[in-house]
């Protein structure tokens, strides 16, 4: 059986951990073995949130540098920062909308040019897919659904053996009932975005 290592990164509040669970449950629904890992604790306080999902015959729950098959970046600077996890064979799916770090917001340091960040990534990896998850989520009806739009783009990429129906079923059964419709819309918009 093939093995897939997915690294997820974003900023506290972006819903990366829910996306992690939905991805993991979707892979299980599709019949795969799954191990996932999360870093808890500082998520609420504006810090970086990193998590992993392993699909297939893998016991280790974390990913060493150069070993991610897929990088799902919820914020462009964090996608760039996590690019050490990738190799030339990796697929990267990144949101293009920045979350400005506090230091930058108060005038200490500057946020790098997003296009340049993504150009560098695009020149180094097998495939780079970018989406404006915020716009898609707004179209779907709630900015909080941006994480589902990201999963839509991931499903579309074909980088993983998890069919879109598995994601849809998981979103229906594992996300908050009042958000299911919006989440599904955001997922479909992500799916249609490329």
């Amino acid at each position: 059986m093939d093995k897939y290592r997915i690294y997820l990164t974003g900023v506290g509040g972006q819903g990366t951990l829910l996306a992690t669970v939905v991805l993991a449950e979707s892979a299980i629904y599709a019949g795969y073995n799954v191990v996932a890992s999360e870093v808890h604790g500082m998520a609420q306080r504006g810090g970086v949130v990193e998590s992993t999902v392993m699909i297939g015959d893998i016991k280790s729950s974390i990913i060493s540098d150069g070993e991610a098959d897929v990088l799902l970046g919820f914020e462009p600077l964090e996608t760039y920062r996590a690019i050490r996890k990738c190799s030339a064979g990796s697929v990267v799916v990144s949101n293009t909308v920045p979350v400005i770090p506090y230091g930058v917001a108060i005038g200490k340091g500057s946020y790098p040019d997003v296009d340049k960040l993504l150009d560098f990534i695009g020149s180094k990896v097998k495939r780079l897919i970018t989406i404006d998850a915020q716009v898609l989520a707004q179209q779907a009806g709630a900015v909080l659904s941006a994480n589902m739009a990201m999963l839509g783009a991931l499903a579309k990429s074909g980088a993983l053996p998890v069919p879109k129906e598995a994601f849809e079923e998981t979103i229906r059964t594992k996300t908050k009932a009042s958000f299911v419709e919006t989440n599904l819309r955001a997922f479909e918009l992500g799916l249609a975005s490329q």
């Binding site: 506290g12 306080r45 504006g46 280790s60 990738c86 190799s87 005038g107």
Partner: protein, 633 residues
């Protein structure tokens, strides 16, 4: 119904390591659970807290880990199955009862969960708590996966009752916060009615009893060793001239590395899950079968030294390595790539590390802005720190700031920089006494409300009694915020289902004998600053209770909605950036548009309307909430 109470035996669920531990305990019929919250163990207690509402299980958040362990010990000595969970440093707090509880043992099965934190994701040290098993002579299990965490949690109760000893279940962050597929077993209903049998010759550890009981403990330890040798958690698999011994999370890296390197036919693996007492007979068989042995374990060379002792005892000269230059470190957590590489190097296997993308190759990048965690917008701790800083500035006073463990430790960050000394829970109050006595300088110590109940009170009594002179500021935000808003004994504002009495921090402080006590709302800057100035002028021990609810707790647990916001008026078009230079609320930021009408902007998605900023800047004013609540909710 709580999902962990599912009766779907045989079904597979994706569970967090901590949830798997809870499920395992429920399958063993655990009836009594205690904890003090601490990352990475917190979700264990939080799950029991919710489960206790819908089952016969008793659960409590105890005031600290020593209290939690002793309370659990009382129940276990009465024949009830108990579990007590804590983070690794929590076991230091509970070390006193642990050591003698081992002498008297238990009657109902008892499991002590200690969650270590290699790499210190959210801890002050990365001590290896496996040594507590050796120190106390208690049996220890170390799971490698979520499934195993559930099996071990259940089995630990059986081992505990067979030996009449508490069993240590030792985990690390990557197990606690890993998610894996777990097959559910049948639930066992909790038997929560115990009976205490008076056996003073066992349970009252006067020296004459203790001397007898220590002998009993050592006898039980040897029985436990036999159990470890035969345990299904300890396995010897594979055939080949090379040997690898591993335990815990590191075993997973070993198992994957052996496949990745294609050396399945060359290696014998000793996987240890029942790691104390050390299964020497099994280890001897392993050592005899190998030409050379590599030990893969995070942190200290615990298994490595035991293997070496076993080799020496049996006059075996097989090379056994683990920690050392070119091999493994005693520092930080491991990862799959590192383990694969060391295994390849040690056994001389051809291996090229995958080439990772290096942003240093990107000529355009100089330095990436970092994203450190920060106190939230509207956090009352920031307001207290601002009051302290301005009071000191206005009185031209310098002060030293011992601090404590909680969200407020983030006060270390600029521009607040209100943290100078921290070692453990409660150390603010006590170190303040030592620093002020030794230096004669003004000392202002900070401690949170939950930490004050945990271990601040005895230090405060000591300070009164020994006439120490410093200022203690108790940052009372009405909850244990950092670990996920668990209640504590001082909780006044709580969800309806929380029906426990509240212990007044002010009354406790006064009862400790403190005469200078002020209670302030930190969101009132002038009054808080005045209280700090008065304390600075008093020249005796002063306590300021700075009391305002954690806004995250208000929103999430109590359901409070933001009613007002603030905005920067057009008169803010100067070079002034004082608000961010001194206060640094994350909702305030510099206008990125050089032609913008204002210098500063308030992010309406982050502002929660605490109103602190208008108290030091007249250019800021309130606005009505017009946006959708979903943005902030």
């Amino acid at each position: 119904m709580h999902p962990l109470l599912t009766k779907e035996t045989g079904k597979k669920f994706l569970l967090l390591g901590n949830e798997a531990i809870v499920r395992g305990a429920l399958e063993a019929g655990v009836a009594f659970a205690t904890t003090y919250p601490g990352t990475p163990a917190s979700e264990i207690g939080d799950a029991f807290f919710r489960i206790a509402r819908e089952s016969d299980l008793y659960f409590e958040y105890s005031t600290n880990e020593k209290v939690a362990l002793e309370t659990a010990a009382g129940a276990a000595s009465s024949g009830v199955r108990t579990i007590c969970s804590m983070k690794h440093v929590g076991l230091n707090v509970a070390a006193d009862p642990l050591m003698t509880l081992a002498y008297i043992g238990v009657r109902g099965g008892m499991v002590i969960v200690t969650a270590d934190d290699p790499s210190m994701f959210s801890s002050q040290n990365e001590q290896d708590n496996r040594f507590y098993a050796r120190l106390s002579s208690l049996p220890m299990l170390e799971p490698a996966s979520c499934q195993e965490a559930k099996e071990m949690a259940r089995e630990a109760f059986e081992i505990s009752e067979a030996l009449e000893l508490p069993v240590i279940l030792r985990t690390t962050t990557r197990l606690n916060h890993c998610r894996g597929i777990v097959t559910i077993g049948p639930l066992k209903p909790p038997e929560n009615k115990g009976a205490f049998e008076k056996i003073p010759s066992r349970f009252v550890t006067v020296p004459a009893t203790a001397r007898v009981r220590h002998r009993v403990l050592l006898d039980q330890e040897e029985k436990a060793r036999d159990m470890a040798v035969k345990s299904l958690f300890n396995t010897l698999t594979g055939e080949g001239p090379w040997g690898i011994a591993a335990s815990g999370i590191a075993f997973n890296y070993v198992a994957d590395a052996i496949k990745d390197l294609g050396i399945e036919d060359k290696v014998r693996v000793l996987k240890l899950g029942f790691t104390y007492p050390f299964p020497d007979v099994l280890a001897e068989e392993f050592i005899r079968s190998a030409e050379k042995i590599l030990v893969v374990e995070e942190l200290e060379p615990f298994l490595e030294e035991n293997l070496k002792v076993t080799a020496y005892t049996n006059s075996l000269s097989t090379p056994i390595s683990g920690k050392g230059p070119g091999l493994f470190s005693r520092l930080y957590e491991y990862n799959p790539g590192m383990v694969r590489e060391v295994i390849a190097r040690f056994f001389g296997v051809d291996y090229t590390r995958p080439e990772s993308i290096d942003i240093k190759e990107d000529g355009q990048q100089v330095q990436l802005p970092i994203r450190p965690p920060n106190l939230c917008a509207g956090c009352p701790h920031r307001a207290t720190y601002l009051a302290v800083k301005t009071a000191l500035k206005e009185t031209q006073t310098e002060a030293i700031f011992p601090t404590d463990i909680g969200c407020y430790t983030l006060g270390i960050l600029p521009p607040l920089e209100c943290a100078d000394f921290l070692i453990c829970m409660g150390s603010s109050v006590t170190s303040a006494a030592g620093i002020s006595k030794a230096t004669g300088k003004k000392v202002i110590a900070f401690i949170g409300d939950s930490t004050f109940f945990h271990s601040g009170i005895t230090g405060l009594i000591n300070a009164v009694h020994n006439k120490h002179n410093f200022i203690l500021i108790i940052l009372d935000n009405g909850t244990t915020a950092m670990t996920g808003h668990q209640p504590h004994p001082g909780v006044e504002v709580a969800p309806q289902e929380w029906d426990k009495p509240s212990i007044s921090i002010e009354a406790v402080v006064r009862a400790c004998g403190v005469e200078n006590v002020a209670v302030v709302n930190p969101l009132n800057l002038a009054k808080t600053r005045k209280a700090v100035k008065e304390a600075l002028g008093s020249n005796s021990l002063s306590v300021i209770i700075s009391k305002a609810l954690c806004p995250l707790y208000e929103r999430r647990v109590l359901g409070k909605k933001t009613k007002r916001l603030f905005e920067v008026g057009p008169e803010c078009n100067t070079d002034c950036t004082e608000c961010i230079d001194t206060f640094a609320c994350p909702a305030l930021y510099k206008n990125p548009d050089p032609h913008g009408t204002t210098t500063m902007i308030i992010d309406e998605n982050l502002c929660i309307g605490c109103g602190l900023c208008i108290q030091f800047c007249r250019k800021i004013r309130p606005v009505k909430v017009s946006r959708k609540e979903t943005l902030n909710g």
